[in-house]
């Protein structure tokens, strides 16, 4: 792993490499929920980690490193979305036309991805951080760079948007989420 280091501090490079290898899958999942595409998620994670590497010295702990990485991922995905970069999407399988699937789980996944795609980027990221990463609103606000009230607003509008879709309407009425 030492040979991977590119900085002047081999110890920090080694620590950063361990963080990347250890948390890459989790970050990739988070990226997938942000982008809806695995390869794009991998690209997003690598891009974010590259940006983080140049600022790693200002981060004091591994928790801060991961939190800052998620922040960079959210901002980068928002930048990509603002740039309307949708011309080429890496995929291993050619997309097929929508058909009725016998597997409800697959349909649910597809519906959820479509529903997420209709949300604004920051609202989508807020929902993922809140209901997938189980982060408190204060930490979400820190990652998103906004206030807690803004986080609550994003969550509320995101859930309302999801309820408009068929899959989400099948869900129960919105419950009060503590925390």
């Amino acid at each position: 792993m030492e040979k991977l280091g590119v900085g002047m501090d081999p110890g920090r490079d080694h620590e950063f490499a361990e963080f990347v290898d250890g948390r890459f899958t989790a970050l990739q999942r988070f990226g997938y929920l942000l982008t809806g595409e695995w390869h794009q998620a991998e690209d997003l994670v690598q891009t974010a980690l590259t940006k983080v590497w140049f600022h790693r010295k200002s981060l004091r702990s591994s928790n801060a490193l991961e939190s800052y990485t998620r922040t960079v991922m959210v901002n980068t995905s928002t930048q990509w979305w603002r740039r309307k970069w949708k011309g080429e999407t890496p995929t291993e399988i050619l997309p097929e036309t929508a058909t009725t699937s016998e597997y409800g789980t697959v349909d649910d996944r597809d519906l959820l991805l479509r529903a997420l795609a209709t949300l604004p980027r920051r609202t989508r990221a807020t929902l993922v951080l809140r209901y997938f990463e189980d982060l408190p609103e204060a930490e979400i606000a820190q990652i998103m760079g906004c206030s807690v009230g803004t986080v609550k607003s994003h969550v509320s509008r995101g859930l309302a948007k999801l309820r408009e879709h068929h899959l989400v309407t099948a869900l129960s009425a919105p419950a009060q989420k503590e925390g």
Binding site: M1, R29, T47, R109, L112, L127, Y131, S172
Partner: protein, 263 residues
Amino acid sequence: MTDDLKRQFEQLVADPPPPSEVPSESVFRRVRTVRRRRTAGVATLAAAAVVAVTVAAGNLTDINSAPPVSNTPSAPVTVVTAAPTTTPSYTPSTTTTPPKSPTGTTTSTNATGAVHTPNRNTPPPSSEHTPVAPALGLHLTLKPSVKGRVLTLKVTANGTVRVPVGDVTSDGFFSVLGSERYSFGDGPESGSDAGAVNCQAARSTLTGQQTKTLIDWNGQAGPTPPSNHTYAKAGTYTVSYTVRYCGTNGWVPVTKSSTVTVK
């Protein structure tokens, strides 16, 4: 709902594809690429800065870092017309009247803030001036010498005169002068005429100097006239010598006098 949403999220990311390569390797490769691009960008900026400074320095060749004045004949020449505040630096080497500023214009450095540079389209004043003919004129010097009552008077003539046309001898500068009259202060005047010469037709000029001792003809022409004058008694006498030279507008008389004391 939130539990269902969380479950659906987890189902959605339940089977992520394996990373295409070791994640840290791919990240560090990107880091190296970014660093190379940044280094190249810095090097490019540095090279551009060096080129800019070089070009700027090459364009500042004057002592005061003023841009040079290109010697382009077709280029317009900026001349700021202002009230003449300086004396033209050009001074002729002759003693004639100094030329005045012909146009009353001068190049003002204060007006433009630029360093004064001569108009390079105009050749600088040449040190070789056109020969100027010396002014016509004649200067006389009397040098009396008294021994007892005998006076020897020498006269020196120098200057530039026109050469009259006619019977001009070639025995010195006095030969181109006209008639002369001189007096020793007592006795009759002595002298000679110019002979058959014409001053009006004169074209050429002659610059010269000659000294001769005046002859005392004593009112009579003799074969061996004395080259001195003997006074009859002691006293103070005024000697005078008048000669004419051919000037621009004809004969010009020149008189020189001196006082001698005979004891």
